[in-house]
């Protein structure tokens, strides 16, 4: 079939698609109209000849290798249906009050990835096949750009990573949307199975300040994803992908799931996964979302980004355990100073501290990897504390004596006389370090030669057993 079979031209300049499925370029249309315009007489349903007004002109060079910008003039025009069979360029008509702009997708995608175009908040009715598209889109009508000429092309197919790209069609010509899709190996459920997770995953929008306990304090989030019923992090990820797939009927933050991109306009969306990507067994949750209800075994399987843009990782709570003890043993576990001793000057007192004081303030910021409660040694004196924040320890009692400004202080991880056969402490992992372990028993039954060793405390914690050698 040729273009003159597929289109007609009325006496009033209406260019309409009448048959066929072939899509012609803008330049083809222009060439055909010009061909008709030099005919001696009208023929068939193409009522255009030498006596008619000039139907079209090109803005710019006539080059088949580049997208054309066609002006339909003197009342000649196409309609929406005709535009579906014309691409590779733009068409202006009605004295430039109407503009059909060219739109195409480029990039590496899974073959046949379906595309949909959202204009002014609504999906355009598809007239194209799956895979890369090259179409024209009505960008201006009645002299006004539709949504400033902006459209966004999406590809969100279940089982694939998602992609979207915004294009400005206001200038005409042909504009490209770069998309990238790939098979998503983290999608292991069917859509039906994913839909069933609605009973286990609750998504609620609203400000919430939460402290992950990672030492960064309370942070503002704009929404909460609550997991329940044994839902895994990966299942929650799949459910969120389900909510935002092309065919989604869900609403997220007051907008359709199929066009949801981010919780806040100020956030940088994650095109591949609007609720955050899942990789390496970890869900990198999109900015603004707080996640709760995560299974204990998956306490490290997610990462958040607070409203302020800071990355928030759940604390890695680790432990140090000393075994092979007997009731009455005295145990000390503290940071090693690298010279065969304990790091007894980890902190220095901020100002003089009078006897009876209930807090100890140091000059140095206390890193996250100190026990939430425990013992602080000030000038060697042992004081129990119930909490700490930033640079201040709150004691369970009071200082038994005065301490001078600058006096050394440190926080042992274990500093006790045990009543059992093992002692342990838990704290948030911050950075690896070497701990010095001392176990002594000098009075009572079965004194032992002082046991002393070092252990490397990594992200998995550390443990060791005391070696009990009887002393004379």
């Amino acid at each position: 079939m040729a273009i003159f079979d597929d289109f007609s031209v009325s006496a009033t300049g209406d260019v309409r698609h009448v048959s066929g499925t072939t899509v012609y370029s803008v330049l083809d249309l222009h060439a055909w109209l010009q061909d008709l315009a030099d005919d001696a007489a009208r023929a068939g349903n193409d009522l255009l000849d030498i006596l008619s007004s000039n139907p079209s002109k090109l803005d710019g060079p006539r080059d088949a290798a580049v997208a054309s910008r066609l002006n339909l003039i003197n009342g000649f025009n196409i309609d929406a249906t005709a535009s579906q069979y014309i691409n590779f360029g733009s068409i202006k008509q009605d004295s430039a009050n109407v503009l059909y702009s060219g739109l195409k997708t480029i990039g590496g995608i899974v073959s046949g990835s379906p595309m949909y175009v959202v204009q002014n908040g609504s999906k355009l009715t598809k007239f194209w096949s799956d895979g890369h598209i090259q179409i024209t889109v009505l960008a201006k009508t009645g002299g006004a750009l539709i949504d400033s000429g902006l459209v966004r092309v999406y590809s969100r197919k279940w089982g694939q990573t998602y992609s979207d790209f915004e294009v400005d069609l206001s200038a005409g010509g042909e504009n490209a949307a770069a998309l990238a899709t790939a098979a998503d190996s983290n999608i292991t459920l069917t859509e039906v199975q994913a839909a069933a997770l609605s009973s286990k995953v609750t998504i609620a929008v609203g400000d919430t300040s939460q402290d992950l306990g990672n030492g960064n304090g309370s942070k503002l989030y704009k929404g909460t994803i609550t997991l329940s019923g044994g839902c895994t992090v990966q299942e929650a990820y799949q459910y969120c992908q389900y909510l935002t797939r092309e065919d989604s009927a869900a609403t997220v933050n007051s907008e359709p799931g199929w066009r949801y991109r981010a919780l806040n306009a100020a956030y940088t969306p994650n095109s591949a996964a609007p609720f955050g990507a899942f990789a390496g067994g970890k869900w990198f949750v999109a900015q603004g979302w707080f996640v709760t209800g995560v299974l204990p075994a998956e306490s490290q399987a997610y990462q958040l980004t607070a409203h302020d843009g800071t990355t928030q990782s759940p604390p890695n709570v680790i432990g140090i355990t000393i075994g092979n003890l007997l009731p009455g043993d005295r145990i000390l576990v503290a940071r090693d100073d690298g010279a065969g001793g304990i790091l007894s000057n980890e902190f220095t007192l901020n100002g003089a501290h009078a006897s009876g004081a209930a807090t100890v303030t140091v000059n140095e910021a206390v890193s996250a990897d100190h026990p939430a409660s425990g013992v602080i040694r000030v000038g060697g004196k042992r004081y129990a504390y119930s909490s700490w924040a930033v640079k201040t320890f709150t004691l369970t009692g009071t200082l038994a004596e005065s301490h001078s400004s600058g006096d050394p202080a440190f926080v042992p991880y274990i500093d006790t006389v045990t009543g059992t056969t093992a002692e342990s402490v838990t704290f948030v992992y911050y950075a690896s370090f070497t701990a010095r372990v001392k176990v002594r028993r000098g009075s009572g039954a079965d004194p032992i030669v002082p046991f002393e060793t070092t252990v490397s405390v990594g992200s998995g914690g550390a443990s060791t057993n005391a070696v009990r050698t009887s002393d004379v």
Binding site: R330, R440, P450, V472
Partner: protein, 178 residues
């Protein structure tokens, strides 16, 4: 930082084991008992071990190899100043800075009794050793002396060498016939 275990005060800052004033004789075994207590104390565990001990290996029959206490690092024992002769005995005390386990104390001479083959004889309390204690000796004597007071002695004063004694003990009727 200091720790007291009578009659010793362990000064962890100066590494000195100060002997109480008036104490002129120190047993090494007692000293080491105090060392073990001090180094496992709340203060002491912050520091290196004060001393090591060796010996006291049983040789049988309540006899053991003598105790040798080796003071580590800068640790020394110091007596209170005065004009007297102090004694360290009942084991070997070695170590200290420059191999000197005793710190200078004005006017005090310290006699260290050292032996390359010292032994310790364990007394028999609780049946552990071979030599009885003084109290055990006293108890044994007392037990022997008082045995008649608590036991029935088989005797009949009417007989001497098996012959019945008669008479009334008067001149007219004397004891007899023995």
């Amino acid at each position: 930082m200091a720790y007291y275990a009578a009659p010793f005060t362990f000064d962890f800052a100066t590494s000195i084991i100060q002997v109480d004033d008036g104490v002129v004789a120190v047993g090494v075994i007692d000293l080491y008992d105090a060392v073990k207590e001090a180094r496992a104390s709340e203060e002491g565990i912050l520091y290196d071990a004060i001393a090591t001990g060796s010996g006291l290996v049983s040789l049988g029959d309540g006899v053991a190899v003598g105790l040798t206490v080796n003071l580590l690092g800068g640790w020394q024992t110091r007596f209170a100043p005065g004009s007297y002769i102090a004694k360290v005995s009942n084991g070997n005390l070695v170590g200290g800075p420059g191999g000197d386990p005793i710190a200078y104390s004005a006017g005090v001479q310290v006699r260290l009794t050292q032996s390359a083959a010292s032994t310790v004889v364990t007394v028999s309390e609780a049946g552990a050793g071979s030599a009885p204690t003084a109290s055990e000796n006293a108890a044994a004597v007392w037990s022997a002396a008082s045995r008649a007071l608590t036991s029935t002695v088989v005797s009949d004063v009417r007989y001497v060498n098996g012959i019945l004694i008669d008479g009334t003990g008067t001149e007219a009727n004397p004891w007899g016939p023995a």
